[in-house]
Amino acid sequence: MTIPTIVGAGLAVIGAGIGIGMIGGKAMEAIARQPEAYGKIQTAMLIAAALIEGIGFAAIFAG
């Protein structure tokens, strides 16, 4: 493992982290605005988070 690959993987993971954070935050806002849609929002949130997480892991394995 060389330093550039580690830094690159780290940057990608930061990106994924920001992405998941934003999804979580927006989902919270959405649930606060429409508590009755809790189930649907949670499902959509988990799917989006899982997709971004996949990118994060791909970056770790590439790095």
Partner: protein, 398 residues
């Protein structure tokens, strides 16, 4: 477990429930702490100076974690090292090795521990190197290339390894559990009894919120058995990974690949005409063919690539999550040997305990995500054009 069913003696009942809850929690805590101790125990055995000479503690811990992540031909439960002689004893049981190398070769993996690690079977010699079996000569020589990869011939390995044993056990457990549950439902007039009270909401959740929500009322029945089986199979294996057995089945990329390939095959072979049309001709009659060709040069390859990326993301997600969990947990336990002072114990215990609790959640979440995305892909594949339009109209209506 005791559940309140009648409304008399409510106070006693709630007290008993609380008692049960406390008992349950203490059992849980006991199991988690035991797993930490057991894994700690496993670390110790590798501390003995190996044949490569003295290594630093960090290297040894790294090696041990790598060893844990691999599949194994032995079912090793724990080991102990004599402090004075440096001799390591392993406790566990051997597993059968089945090789195809111009003929069938079968022997027990315990034979690798004698005779300098060389096993003679039907005139061929085999040896074990980093949990992989290579053909070798009478001395057990292994030739390396310049990158230190062995160049010896590898026979086709159909062995019953540790992962295979765990998968067979889990399958048997699932068969027994759900078969007896279905029988108890028939006997008790469709009322859940015993552990069925725990599993019924989960099964219903998968049916209502995963299968019906993603595939639709009409077609979900065809896919539901697969979704339920995958969910419980992955969940149980993830949970077994947290026990002191030290198995790492869902953190094995071959296992997750097989699961994803099954999902891919089901998606491909149950795909409707409209599903394929959506991939190869998404614009339909809405555009003259000259315009379509220009767009399809880019669009169709992307859609075809997407067919394979979907199951690939599925397999990488499960594998990476479980592997990451195991690495973090074992590294935290390894802190004890790096600190070598009174700070290490409590620090390592506290951190690994917290991560263990998160891993309990991750075990369930990953099984859920896998099932959920599989259902989503099945939903795409089985949707007809008319349903798609109706669905979109519904969304716009909301």
């Amino acid at each position: 477990m005791y559940f309140c069913t009648d409304f008399t003696d409510t106070i006693i009942c709630s007290k008993m429930q609380r008692k049960t809850l406390v008992r349950l929690l203490s059992v849980l805590l006991f199991i988690v702490s035991f797993s930490a101790v057991a894994q700690h125990g496993m670390d110790v055995k590798e501390i003995a100076p190996g044949p490569e000479g003295n290594k630093t503690k960090k290297e040894e811990i790294k090696e041990f974690i790598n060893h844990h992540l691999l599949d194994s031909h032995d079912f090793n439960l724990f080991g102990s090292t004599d402090e004075l002689t440096g001799e390591t004893k392993h406790y566990g049981f051997p597993l059968p090795v089945i090789l195809w190398d111009g003929g069938l070769h079968t022997f027990m993996s315990s034979e690798f521990h004698h005779n300098n690690g060389v096993v003679v079977s039907n005139g061929n010699q085999y040896t074990l190197y980093h949990e992989k079996i290579y053909r070798t000569d009478a001395e057990g020589t292994i030739n390396y290339d310049e990158k230190h990869h062995p160049t010896n011939v590898r026979p086709l390995d159909f062995s019953i390894t540790k992962s295979v044993v765990m998968m067979l056990l889990t399958s048997l457990l699932l068969l027994w559990l759900f078969h007896s549950l279905s029988k108890s439902y028939a006997k008790n007039g469709r009322l859940p009894r015993g552990i069925g009270r725990f599993f019924e909401p989960i099964v219903l959740y998968i049916r209502d919120d995963i299968a019906i929500a993603n595939i639709g009322e009409k077609k979900y029945k065809k896919y539901l058995p697969f979704l339920l089986t995958t969910f419980f199979f992955i969940w149980f294996l993830n949970m077994f990974g947290l026990t002191p057995l030290g198995v790492n089945v869902t953190g094995n990329i071959a296992v997750t690949t097989a699961l994803a390939v099954i999902v891919f095959l089901i998606t491909t072979f149950t795909g409707t005409k409209d599903y394929w049309k959506h991939i190869f001709d998404p614009l339909g009659d809405g555009m003259p063919w000259v315009g379509k060709i220009l767009i399809y040069i880019i669009l169709v390859p992307i859609e075809i690539l997407g067919l394979f990326i979907k199951p690939f993301a599925l397999l990488i997600r499960l594998y990476a999550n479980m592997t990451a969990g195991h690495v973090v947990l074992m590294s935290l336990i390894g802190l004890i040997f790096i600190f070598k002072s009174w700070i290490g114990g409590p620090l390592s215990f506290g951190l690994s305990f917290a991560i263990s609790l998160i891993e309990l959640l991750v075990a369930l979440l990953q099984a859920y995500i896998f099932t959920m995305l599989a259902a989503l892909y099945f939903g795409f594949a089985s949707e007809t054009h008319a349903e798609h339009e109706a669905h979109e109209g519904e969304v716009q209506h909301l």
